[in-house]
């Protein structure tokens, strides 16, 4: 089997797995943020898995890019893989992929504890909201560029991923409204608890 073909297969598979991991990380993060984590697992399990899946998304994204560069038939070089809008072929499709990659890099880098401690919470939260943009650009890239985008199993899987991504967003928004309406009360006295300003509010 030629090396270019193997690189092409690996590029496709790592891209699909990266997309799955990205959606999984989004789902875990949204469920944690919505406090919709159930009782069987502790909330920090969901947060840890959210971070872990995000890191794995970045790893598989970089593998995907590396394999795309090694695929000599794809016409994607280092410049095209890292500089948006420089590809000769399928320019916009590759551009969305490059943008998604940079967004994932920023998201993961700013989520590292040492970096996060140095960033004001509001700014960090604004940066972290770009995960939605990353998912959207990832979807555009996979639909426009994907070698398997025309196959029925890919379209079905894409629809399932969209549903998986949208459902926790709904839960998150509902939980946000509920939290704003119902103040946290003491379990002993029933009196509203005083929460320091800026803490726990998004």
């Amino acid at each position: 089997m030629p090396a270019a073909s193997m690189a092409w297969y690996l590029s496709r598979s790592t891209g699909i797995v990266a997309a799955l991991l990205a959606v999984a990380s989004l789902v875990w993060g949204l469920r944690f943020a919505a406090r919709h984590t159930g009782t069987r697992l502790r909330p920090n399990w969901w947060m840890t898995m959210h971070k872990w899946l995000g890191g794995m998304t970045l790893v598989f994204t970089l593998l995907h890019v590396t394999m795309a560069i090694l695929d000599t038939d794809a016409g994607i070089g280092v410049v095209q893989a890292f500089v948006p809008h420089t590809a000769d072929v399928q320019r916009w499709a590759i551009t969305w992929g490059v943008v998604a990659m940079y967004l994932f890099v920023v998201l993961v880098a700013t989520s590292v504890a040492r970096v996060r401690r140095r960033i004001p919470r509001k700014i960090w939260h604004a940066i972290h909201l770009s995960s939605f943009a990353a998912i959207v650009t990832l979807g555009a890239h996979s639909l426009m560029m994907g070698s398997d985008a025309s196959s029925s199993w890919f379209v079905l899987g894409f629809a399932v991923l969209v549903a998986l991504a949208v459902s926790p967003i709904t839960v998150r928004l509902l939980a946000r409204g509920e939290r704003h309406r119902r103040p946290i009360r003491s379990t002993l006295t029933g009196a509203p608890l005083r929460v320091p300003s800026g803490v726990g509010r998004r």
């Binding site: 089997m1 030629p2 270019a4 073909s5 193997m6 092409w8 297969y9 690996l10 496709r12 598979s13 790592t14 699909i16 797995v17 799955l20 991991l21 999984a24 406090r35 919709h36 009782t39 502790r42 909330p43 920090n44 399990w45 947060m47 840890t48 898995m49 872990w52 899946l53 794995m56 598989f60 000599t72 038939d73 794809a74 016409g75 994607i76 000769d88 072929v89 399928q90 560029m145 994907g146 070698s147 398997d148 985008a149 025309s150 196959s151 119902r182 946290i184 009360r185 379990t187 608890l193 803490v199 726990g200």
Partner: protein, 228 residues
């Protein structure tokens, strides 16, 4: 979901943890976490290991299925190519009479998306040659050459011994990737053919397999043209 909800670990993390009243690092009765100082117990180890294993397995499985599908012909069967027209059929009436070249095999698939480059004469499936025998005129179709991604077949048009048109009548269009690569590469190959007037053309970067198939089919078309 129970109410009030559990404490947000982020909030919890900001709160200064209460100092254990009696246990210290040297206390043999202290729990292991306290003896270890700031080292915390890893969380979600099983989940992390599972996610890594699933990701690697998914990557391997997808790679294998792609290679298997490619080896077995993929969604677009490679055998769909019609029987190869070995050479363009030519009929010569006399040695000095005009040479009439029959059109290329009608069952050859022409996708219709290949732009023609620098065609200086109107495209015609039948070109009548009216010049002396040395001046080659006609349309000749090369052999279909099977590449890894599908067949490539080239058709060349001669006018007075010069290649005036070279078009890929068949090329891989199995996937979007094939289309993207070949729509970029084939015009370059056509332009190179018209410039070189032979099959001695450069490889187009990013379309290696198509280039090799194009060159082989072009060479067979040129051989067919010079064969009569």
């Amino acid at each position: 979901m129970s109410w009030p909800p559990p404490l947000d670990p982020l909030i919890h993390g900001r709160a200064r943890p209460a100092t254990p009243p009696s246990t210290g690092p040297t206390d043999p009765a202290a729990p292991p976490a306290a003896r270890a100082g700031a080292r915390r117990k890893p969380v979600a180890v099983a989940g992390r290991v599972t996610s890594v294993a699933l990701s690697i397995a998914a990557t391997g499985g997808l790679t294998w299925s792609f290679a298997h599908a490619d080896a077995s012909g993929g969604p677009a069967p490679r055998a769909a190519l019609p029987p190869p027209p070995r050479r363009a059929t030519t009929t010569t009436t006399t040695t000095t009479a005009p040479v009439t070249t029959e059109p290329a095999a009608p069952d050859v698939v022409d996708s219709g998306t290949t732009p023609d480059v620098a065609a200086t004469e109107p495209s015609s499936s039948t070109v009548a040659a009216t010049q002396a025998p040395p001046a080659l005129t006609g349309t000749f179709t090369g052999d279909p050459v099977q590449t890894r991604y599908g067949p490539v077949q080239v058709q060349v048009t001669y006018a007075n011994g010069t290649i005036t048109k070279a078009s890929a009548v068949v090329y891989p269009t199995r996937s979007r990737r094939d289309l993207a690569i070949n729509r970029r590469a084939i015009p370059i190959l056509q332009a190179e053919t018209l410039t070189a007037q032979s099959a001695q053309i450069d490889t187009v970067s990013g379309a290696t397999y198509t280039t090799y198939g194009y060159i082989d089919s072009l060479q067979s078309a040129i051989d067919a043209a010079h064969a009569h």
